[in-house]
Each structure stands twice: as structure tokens, then as C-alpha cells.
């Protein structure tokens, strides 16, 4: 579906990045300066990159100039045209023979809820509104691929939380592949289908987000804060303050989520929030005790050990100290229990 390969020297950065993805949202994750934005600029053609490969749905776009690649680009700073209204910004792509159908226009305006903004000037929009219009403008140019360069980075946490659901709808309701640059674990967990971890211009990990985020070996590259399992679950019941979720491998109870019964939900369990026990604990306040098998252990350079527990079909990642791992005598293949406090779930990390 999407095939990218960029090899290029850029100042002190030696960029050499190749990856493939099956569509959905492919997140390029890494620290600033790792080369994520350069990959996006090369893909869009804005950064001339003679030796690159870019194939979208089997179509080779790498030799085309940017204006013919039909790659919608959402910049970190929106870049709306200040001398045009919101509506004129949205229709700019259509002026060059790339308009989608009129029905698509209405659909996109509804999807992003920008109808009320159409007559306004860009400078009268809030940061979040600007970013929604920029996304709409890119979508309305009927793109082969959507590139998004940290579109939420310039927004504060509440605004981010407001826009994330729109991005989830975009992923679920359109079939345009999205290449998304981020260094935020919450965004990765909520949006990514495929995760490509980039460090110093190289791909260090890539694959399905559930696998990469729970890979003990990937933990040092992801960073302690970002590492952790992503669960695709279904809401089975709401009881008082709690919701019950079923995932392939067991049940979870956590503070009530704003998702209806039977709807699916995606949530992130940070590795640092998981406790490991070798015997089923009794008399414990934590609501969730999941029984599984230790699938992998990774001893890093620091004091921590990353443990991957397979609960049913679902991998759970835990980060514990070396001394705990030794005291418990953890080994691959052992049966162990993952203990999660219900309150440890980051509400921002819960998505649909």
C-alpha cells in the first residue's frame, strides 16, 4: 500500500529510512532531530531527494514534482493562506483540477466540523480550528496520501484532546493512507496502525503498533514513557463509576469511559504502570489482575528490565527493576500475573 525509502545526507544527519505499511495511520516516531520531518518533506517532494522511492497503492510517485504528487500535507503551523477566507483556503486545491466530488466536500466539512468557520478569516481562528481547516484543505485536494507533521504539537493539552477524535474518524472513515510524524506516546497509541521508530536517521523498529509498542527490545528506543501495550477492546458494561472492557485474553475494569456498550475502544497501558507477580495476589486493591505467560525479557543498560507477558492473544509490557526480576526469578515461559491499577489509565490515552 505504502512504500517509502529515503537515503540522503542532510548536513550532519545521514538519513537512511525505508519502511512499508498496509495503510491506515503510519506513525513516524522519534526524538526531534531524528529526521522524521525530512522523511515527510522528501515524500511530499518539497525536499528534493533524487534517490528516493515512494509507492502508494502500487503507483510510483517518486519522480513527480510536488504539485503533481497529490500528497496532502498538514504542517505543524497550519499555513493557512492569510489573504483568503476559510472557504477559499479549503477550495484552493480544487482550483488546480484536483477537486474531489461535491459530496466529499460536504462530508469532509462535516467530519471536521468546520462548517461554521467557512466565512471567517484564518487569523480569527483558534489554533485548533486552524489545524482542522488545514486538515480539511489537504483532504479536499483529493490526495493519494496524507502527510501530517506533528499537527498537534503547537496546541495545548485540552485542544489536543479535542482534535484527536477527529483524527480517529479520519482514520476510520476515509481510506486515504496517512503518514503521521509524532513524538507523543498518546498520539501513537490512539492513532497508529503501523509504527516506525526512527533514531539518528535510521529505522530502529517498525511493524504493527501493538507489536512494536510491547516489544521489550524496543523499549530503550521508544523511551520509558512511550513504551506500553496497546489494547483493542470492546466495552461490555458500565457499572457505577467503572466500565468493563473485553479484550482478546481477558477483562479489564477501569474508570468509566465515554464510549457506548458494544463499541470498540483502544487503550494504552504504559509499561511503567504494570506490576508483575509470580503468584496470584490476594487482598489487593488493584482491580485488574491478568494471568499470562512471560514471552520475552530484556535486560537493558540501565536499572530496568522490560517484560512482555502474553495474556491470551494480547501482549502486555511491564517495566520493572533488575533486582525485582532477579528476586522473582523471572524467566521466559513462566506463568505470571500483570497487575494494573484502574486509576493508572490515562484518559487521554483512551480512544476509539
Amino acid at each position: 500500500m505504502l512504500e517509502v525509502s529515503v537515503a540522503q545526507h542532510l548536513g550532519s544527519l545521514d538519513l537512511n529510512v525505508s519502511f512499508q505499511s498496509l495503510g491506515g495511520v503510519t506513525v513516524l516516531f522519534g526524538a526531534s532531530g531524528a529526521g522524521k520531518t525530512s522523511v515527510l518533506r522528501a515524500v511530499s517532494g518539497l525536499l528534493p531527494s533524487p534517490d528516493m522511492t515512494l509507492r502508494v497503492r502500487g503507483q510510483d510517485l517518486s519522480r513527480l514534482p510536488p504539485e503533481q504528487r497529490r500528497i496532502g500535507y498538514v504542517f505543524q503551523d497550519a499555513r493557512l493562506f492569510p489573504h483568503m477566507s476559510v472557504a477559499q483556503n479549503l477550495d484552493y486545491g480544487a482550483r488546480f483540477g484536483r477537486a474531489g466530488a461535491a459530496a466529499t466536500r460536504t462530508h469532509i466539512i462535516d467530519l471536521l466540523n468546520i462548517g461554521p468557520l467557512l466565512g471567517r478569516a484564518p487569523r480569527n481562528l483558534s489554533g485548533g480550528e486552524k489545524q482542522r481547516v488545514a486538515i480539511g484543505r489537504a483532504l479536499l485536494s483529493d490526495p493519494n496520501l496524507l502527510c501530517m507533521d506533528e499537527p498537534l504539537a503547537s496546541l495545548d493539552a485540552p485542544r489536543r484532546a479535542q482534535i484527536l477524535p477527529y483524527l480517529e474518524r479520519l482514520r476510520d472513515e476515509t481510506d486515504i493512507p496517512i503518514l503521521y510524524v509524532s513524538h507523543d506516546a498518546t498520539e501513537v497509541a490512539r492513532l497508529a496502525t503501523t509504527l516506525v521508530v526512527i533514531k539518528d536517521g535510521r529505522v530502529v523498529q517498525s511493524g504493527a503498533v501493538e507489536e512494536v509498542l510491547s516489544d521489550p527490545v524496543a523499549l530503550p528506543d521508544l523511551g520509558v514513557r512511550a513504551a506500553g501495550a496497546v489494547l483493542n477492546a470492546r466495552v461490555t458494561a458500565h457499572e457505577g463509576d467503572l466500565s468493563e472492557l473485553a479484550f482478546p485474553g481477558g477483562l479489564l475494569r477501569l474508570p468509566r469511559v465515554a464510549v457506548a456498550v458494544n463499541e470498540s475502544i483502544r487503550l494504552r497501558i504504559a509499561a511503567q504502570d504494570v506490576i508483575i507477580a509470580t503468584e496470584e495476589p490476594k487482598g489487593i486493591s488493584a482491580l485488574n489482575v491478568l494471568k499470562g505467560q512471560i514471552e520475552a525479557l530484556h535486560f537493558g543498560q540501565g536499572p530496568g528490565v522490560a517484560v512482555r507477558l502474553r495474556v491470551g492473544e494480547t501482549p502486555i509490557l511491564a517495566r520493572i527493576t533488575k533486582s525485582s526480576a532477579q528476586a522473582l526469578g523471572l524467566e521466559t515461559g513462566m506463568t505470571a500475573y500483570a497487575i494494573l491499577k484502574a486509576t493508572a489509565f490515562d484518559p487521554a490515552g483512551v480512544g476509539t
Binding site: 504539485e67 493562506f81 492569510p82 486545491g93 482550483r95
Partner: protein, 230 residues
């Protein structure tokens, strides 16, 4: 008194000055835009030379510029010779005044346009490109509209400079009433004649009105544009 002052010769000088300023601005502005674009956006080996060349009329004494124009565009000059084949004469002709005033105004227009172009956010042009706009479409729909206040400022500067140009013009086209005499040349000629102080004052006032009028018009246009886009 004014009735005696506003002779056909004086009216001719006013008309010629306005005509010269209009055409030298109209012809000079697109050329200045092209040069500003080269200087701001392109990196090529001759760039410092072009930059220096554009600024030459600003530093040379105007009379020297006028003399060089005579050498180049006079009857026996290199370009004058070529133009003579096309039956075009510039020296001592009204069209020559347009050339002289245009060359003197050119560096000022380039400067104003350069500042305006440097202020255009290339990020917006990149965004337009990803939306399918080619180079010309980007110029037309993004770069030029963003430069409008700067273009108006450049036009105003060019117009005012051309209206007031004296040294290069009088050297290149002379000071023949009703033919090549511009407003400044007319003031100069009247100052040479005793007893014409009243006429001089009237012409000076007319000059001031035209220049300030040009400034006011450009300011009005610029603020209209800003309001339109506010």
C-alpha cells in the same frame, strides 16, 4: 496672476512629468519585480554583479547617469545605433525622459519589492505547491497578493522619484519647452530668469501637491487592501 503663470509651456511641463512618471513606473515595476525575484530567491554566479548594477544610479551623480545614457543611447551610442534601425530615437525626446526617470527610480522600486518579497512566508508557497499549484499559479495566487502593500509602496516611490528627476533627465533629453521640459526642468528654467519668482512658487506648489497626492493615494490603496484582507 496665476492666469499669466499657467502658460501652455507650464501645462506642457506638468503633462510631460505626469506622463513620464506614469510610464516609467508602469514599465519599471514588472522589471523591478523580476530583478527583486532574482536577487531574493535565486543563487547564481552573477548575483552580486546584478545587485551592484541595479544600485549604480543610486550612487552616481544623476548628471553622470544622464551622460552615460547619452553615450549609450545617443545617435552614435551602441544601443542608440541599434534603435535607430528601428526608427526609435531616445536622446532629446520625451521617450528618453521616461528612460532616464525610469533608470533613476529603478533601484528604489527594486529595494521596496525586495523587502516585500523577503517578507513573504515561503512556507505558504510550499503549502500551495502540495495542493497542486505550479510555479506561476503560486506567484499569482500567493506571492503577489501577499506583496501588494510592498508593490504599492514601490510604485509610489518610483512615481515620486520619476516626477522629481532632474539631473539625468536634463542631461539626456535637454530642456525644450513643450517637448522635453518636465516640471523640475521648468522650475530650473524659470529660476534663471529675473522676475519669475511668482511662477516658480506656483510650480513648486503644484509639484508638492502631485507628490503628496501620490503618497496619499498609495497609502489609501494599501489600507484598503489591508482592510479587505482583515
Amino acid at each position: 496672476m496665476t492666469a499669466d503663470v499657467l502658460t501652455p509651456e507650464v501645462w506642457g511641463a506638468i503633462r510631460l512629468s505626469l506622463w513620464v512618471a506614469f510610464w516609467s513606473t508602469l514599465i519599471g515595476l514588472p522589471l523591478a519585480l523580476g530583478v527583486a525575484h532574482l536577487l531574493v530567491r535565486k543563487r547564481f554566479w552573477g548575483r552580486p554583479i546584478l545587485d551592484a548594477l541595479v544600485h549604480v544610479p543610486l550612487v552616481l551623480p544623476p548628471v553622470v547617469t544622464g551622460y552615460l545614457l547619452l553615450v549609450l543611447f545617443g545617435r552614435r551610442g551602441v544601443f542608440g545605433d541599434m534603435l535607430a534601425w528601428l526608427d526609435i530615437t531616445l536622446a532629446f525626446r520625451p521617450a528618453g525622459a521616461v528612460l532616464a526617470a525610469g533608470i533613476m527610480a529603478f533601484p528604489l522600486m527594486v529595494r521596496a519589492l525586495r523587502i516585500a518579497l523577503e517578507a513573504v512566508d515561503t512556507g505558504l508557497e510550499e503549502a500551495a505547491r502540495t495542493l497542486g499549484a505550479g510555479r506561476w499559479a503560486i506567484w499569482r495566487t500567493i506571492t503577489l497578493p501577499m506583496m501588494v502593500p510592498g508593490i504599492l509602496a514601490a510604485a509610489m516611490l518610483g512615481f515620486a522619484k520619476a516626477m522629481g528627476e532632474f539631473g539625468a533627465t536634463i542631461t539626456f533629453v535637454g530642456n525644450t519647452p513643450l517637448e522635453t521640459q518636465t516640471l523640475p526642468s521648468a522650475i530650473y528654467a524659470l529660476l534663471q530668469v529675473p522676475g519669475q519668482e511668482g511662477a516658480v512658487v506656483v510650480l513648486v506648489v503644484i509639484s508638492i501637491i502631485l507628490s503628496v497626492g501620490a503618497l496619499a493615494a498609495s497609502e489609501l490603496l494599501a489600507s484598503w487592501w489591508r482592510r479587505r484582507n482583515a
